[in-house]
Symmetry: C2
Subunit: 118 residues, 2 copies
């Protein structure tokens, strides 16, 4: 249980930063992963800042890094996001309930309209 | 777009803390909401700390607070979680792809087994 909470803490903390979210989105599009410089390219931040973001993502288990010569390839490892989604899922009934109520309301209004004399 | 990113920042930041997640889970069970002292009860933290957590949740739009006399009732307002889930959804294909591959593998193994002479 503690581990589960600990993992959720780290996953949500990793997702707080928009640069890190953009990096994950970039990795989501590239099946084969991306190099560190490819990942850094769209952002106006220096390499040490990029490396710090990658460390946070790595500690949260959201990426893997593999080195070949001097090139580090980063790949997405989205399993922790599954846990985060499962945590969020229980709240889903709130917005689906609301949609159900809306559908019921529309249906009642339509019945009402049909019943009225023209 | 900026607003959307801003909202995601705040939602994920609110969800980082396990006490805040536990408060949201408590509110999820209670349709009618909970008073501040009811919410505080399970935690070994002082009232100012509780109020700080509620401020973070409120700023993220995850709760609403209404006052009647001296009693503040807190209610869940889970809409921002929907956006967070929608953000996470795009990664879902990764684990469902994996399940598809597993199903295909099991199917192949079964075919193989059937083909073998007994």
């Amino acid at each position: 249980m503690v581990n589960h909470q600990e993992r959720l803490n780290r996953t949500f903390a990793a997702l707080v930063d928009p640069t890190r979210r953009a990096m994950l989105a970039r990795l989501e599009r590239d099946e084969g992963g991306a190099t560190v410089s490819e990942l850094a390219e769209p952002f106006a931040i220096k390499l040490p800042a990029v490396m710090k973001h990658l460390d946070v993502l790595d500690e949260a288990g959201l990426i893997t890094r593999s080195k070949r010569g001097r090139v580090v390839t980063v790949r997405l490892s989205p399993k922790p996001m599954k846990e985060a989604m499962e945590w969020l899922h229980r709240y889903e009934r709130f917005w689906s309930d609301r949609l159900d109520r809306l559908a019921a309301y529309v249906e009642r209004q339509e019945k009402e309209a049909r019943r009225k004399p023209r």
